[in-house]
């Protein structure tokens, strides 16, 4: 047992830190550190920088051009990026669809799609949820009928994060209504420029358009875009879900945001108010405990011993922490978090903000926005069902 990283791991961390320091554009880091609005360009610029280095697919094995890092190395990479203020990697391409293509796609598909994902050039979206499906992902209704060399796709996806920027979308589609709902699902890659695809952004409670509805109206999709076998899509989808692991806890981001919370508390004069300070202290304990939980998972992966089946716990605790720091930031500013000036969330905005503290502009919006974290990716209620199942049988 040892809390410290090995000298090799520490050297790895240093090398990542140095590279990120040299390569992360300052304007992007500024936005991330202050929760300002990120543009499509910001996100893609960073993705391409990583892509050029070969690190956009930082979790990829070497045979597909990834760095072949260990679980610990991946964690250290994520941590250094997060603490430096890098945007989160948009996961739909490199983290979600790529592993499915590697595992179940054929060679042609791999050669066709992986390079664009690895380079950050092609923006992928996720087409899982449908109106009314909620946590019941297997209730897929979007139909794909095989007609010769293509599928004809009709239906609707929703909650498609950043889908307004998407160039390709991977979808669960229903190719059969026989048997259990899970058995008739296929995994299809769809070019969003195809005729019949339309995207409608959904405005969220914070005023931003982060998710979308995607409509398919007689969309022709070449049969060669089917991953693996028809009606086996559920298996591939589960594989994908199992690939979101420790990063689900987002503890590195939480550490960065805890620092920001402390800065805000100081600026707002509540850092020395023991009543408020205690709330930060409780959160600090939460963050450290979550980090230790994450490290235990990493250690188990590293050694292959004592594997820990606690993804549900990571999701629950991680999301609660995200909501809590956002809440405390907002409460720290109090009345000066209440003005809603959308333009003030743009970097470099020159207008006035009440109290002169333009850094307060995104606080309430972030608090509102992060209410999603206990809902998406399997709501925390679903996660508790899963945890209870592992404990109680």
């Amino acid at each position: 047992m040892d809390l410290a990283f090995t000298p090799e791991e520490q050297a790895f961390r240093e090398s990542i830190r140095a590279w990120v320091k040299d390569n992360l554009p300052a304007d992007i880091a500024h936005k991330v550190h202050n929760a300002l609005r990120l543009s499509r360009d910001d996100m893609q610029r960073w993705a391409r920088i990583l892509g050029k280095k070969g690190w956009l697919g930082y979790g990829w094995p070497k045979e597909f051009g990834g760095p072949g890092w260990t679980a610990v190395q991946k964690h250290l990479f994520e941590e250094e990026c997060a603490l430096a203020g890098a945007p989160r990697i948009v996961p739909f391409g490199p983290v979600m669809v790529a592993p499915v293509i590697m595992a179940f796609g054929n060679q042609a598909q791999q050669e066709r799609f992986l390079p664009g994902i690895a380079s950050g050039d092609v923006w992928w979206s996720q087409g899982y949820s449908e109106p009314g499906s909620g946590s019941d992902l297997a209730s897929v209704k979007t139909r794909a009928e095989r007609q010769g060399d293509h599928y004809l796709v009709n239906g609707q996806k929703t909650w498609t994060t950043l889908g307004q920027y998407g160039e390709w979308i991977f979808c669960l589609v229903r190719t059969s209504t026989e048997g259990k709902p899970q058995t008739g699902i296929s995994f299809l890659l769809i070019d969003m420029a195809s005729p019949g695809v339309s995207v409608r952004p959904i405005k969220l409670l914070d005023g931003e358009c982060e998710v979308n509805e995607v409509f398919f109206d007689n969309v022709k999709v070449p049969a060669e875009n089917l991953i693996g076998e028809e009606n086996k899509g559920w298996t591939y989808a589960k594989h994908l879900l199992s690939h979101e692991r420790t990063n689900i806890a987002d503890v590195n981001r939480a550490k960065r945001e805890l620092e920001r919370l402390k800065r805000i508390a100081k600026a707002e004069g509540v850092w020395d108010d023991s009543r408020f300070r205690d709330q930060i202290a409780l959160l600090e304990v939460d963050v450290v405990a979550l980090e230790m939980l994450v490290l235990r998972v990493l250690s188990a992966e590293k050694s292959g011993k004592n594997s820990l089946d606690i993804a549900g716990l990571l999701k629950i605790k991680g999301s609660e922490i995200q909501q809590r720091y956002a809440e405390l930031m907002m409460l720290a500013a109090g009345p000066f978090a209440l003005p809603f000036i959308e333009e003030a969330m743009e970097a470099g905005w020159q207008g006035d903000f009440p109290g002169g503290e333009v850094g307060n502009a995104p606080l309430a919006s972030t608090y509102f926005n992060l209410r999603k974290t206990t809902i998406y990716g399997g709501s925390n209620e679903v996660q508790r069902n899963i945890v209870a199942q592992t404990v109680l049988g």
């Binding site: 009345p335 003005p339 809603f340």
Partner: protein, 371 residues
């Protein structure tokens, strides 16, 4: 000890509820949000209902009514998350009638009652947070005329108000003034607020001011306490409707083939929401019924009430969104607007931690409703 409403109070409730249901639906509200968060016509409709004059004495063309009527009105406006800030009329009515010299009353109170004059409390300063005894604005007298200087933030509908009630230091002591918007040296820059409403920063530069009272802190505390009681009542209305919306959703929405209202974990969450709502309603009654008590007793009661309401609002708002799932975080669906209103109300007139500090500082040996 009696918590029944009189027939007149029930009629008032019915009238406001009818207006909210028929005259202030979600679409109209959405339009008002889109056009700045305040609609003078809607404010006029509140006046037509007699609401702006509730706390204005009959002699000054008002209704001369009391806290219970204020509570009833605020609850119903809360149910419709009405943006127009009736609470400002309640404060202006009570503060001017209670503390201002006769001439000032005669000049402003009839307009407050009729809705023609919108008088807003402008007390929030950058470094004060929720404290009322921190005030850097100053007022100086010369030849019987006062001039006021300072900056006040987050003033409700501050860019569209006709006058402000402003605390400022005069001779080392906080006094309360009335400043007309049209007076020289007043500039207001308005903005939207998170709940969809409107506020402004107001800068006074040697603005001509009328003295309301030199006992400004006492009057300001009274004003804020009216704000607290009103916020409590409004929050009860908001939460009542929030719970109703959530219940309807749970009974309608199906997942895995059954209504999600059938899941015990969600049912218990609803029971907890109901608990928070009823505790909140109880403490809203308490706040309004203590609003005319002696200042010390009144202040203690408001702090207790706001702590309960703050906890209730946060729980009910957050859980309502959670129980809705994805649709709960959209702008399109109504529940997120209720959640945002609750969030803003918690941070109005002092948040939960602030008032917990007040309760803690004021604790006596005995406690209870009558202690």
């Amino acid at each position: 000890m009696d918590f029944d409403f009189s027939d007149d109070q029930e009629q008032l409730r019915d009238a406001v509820r009818k207006w909210v249901d028929k005259g202030y639906d979600f679409e109209r509200r959405r339009g008002i949000v889109a056009t700045g968060g305040f609609n003078r016509a809607a404010y006029g409709e509140l006046a037509d209902l007699g609401l702006t004059g509730l706390y204005v004495p009959e002699a000054d063309d008002g209704m001369g009514m009391g806290p219970v009527e204020g509570m009833v009105a605020m609850e119903e406006l809360g149910r419709g998350i009405v943006l127009e800030p009736l609470v400002q009329a309640l404060i202006a009515g009570a503060v001017l009638s209670g503390y201002a010299p006769a001439a000032l009353k005669a000049q402003w109170l009839p307009g407050v009652a009729s809705g023609e004059s919108l008088v807003a409390l402008a007390h929030q300063e950058r470094r004060a947070r929720y404290r009322l005894d921190v005030c850097t604005a100053t007022a100086t007298e010369a030849g019987g005329a006062w001039a006021l200087s300072g900056t006040k933030s987050i003033v409700a509908v501050g860019d569209q108000a006709d006058a402000y009630i402003v605390p400022a230091m005069a001779g080392g002591r906080q006094a309360l003034f009335l400043v007309a918007h049209t007076a020289g040296g007043v500039s207001a820059s308005g903005y939207a607020t998170q709940d969809g409403g409107r506020a402004a920063d107001v800068v006074f530069r040697n603005a001509p001011a009328h003295l309301i009272t030199t006992d400004g802190l006492a009057a300001l505390e009274h004003a804020v306490d009216i704000g607290i009681a009103a916020a409590c009542a409004e929050a009860v209305g908001v939460m009542d409707k929030t719970l109703a919306i959530t219940v309807e959703y749970l009974n309608t929405r199906k997942q895995f083939g059954v209504a999600i209202a059938s899941f015990q974990a969600l049912r218990h969450r609803v029971a907890d929401m109901k608990m928070q709502l009823e505790l909140a309603r109880s403490m809203s009654y308490y706040a309004s019924l203590k609003l005319n008590a002696p200042a010390n007793e009144r202040r203690a009661a408001m702090a207790r009430a706001k702590v309960q309401l703050g906890q209730s609002m946060r729980f009910v708002g957050q859980q309502a969104v959670q129980l809705h799932g994805g649709i709960g975080v959209t702008d399109e669906y109504i529940v997120s607007h209720y959640f945002k209103k609750l969030t803003q109300l918690e941070m109005s007139w002092g948040d939960t931690l602030h008032h917990l500090g007040e309760v803690s500082a004021r604790m006596e040996e005995t406690a209870g409703v009558f202690a």
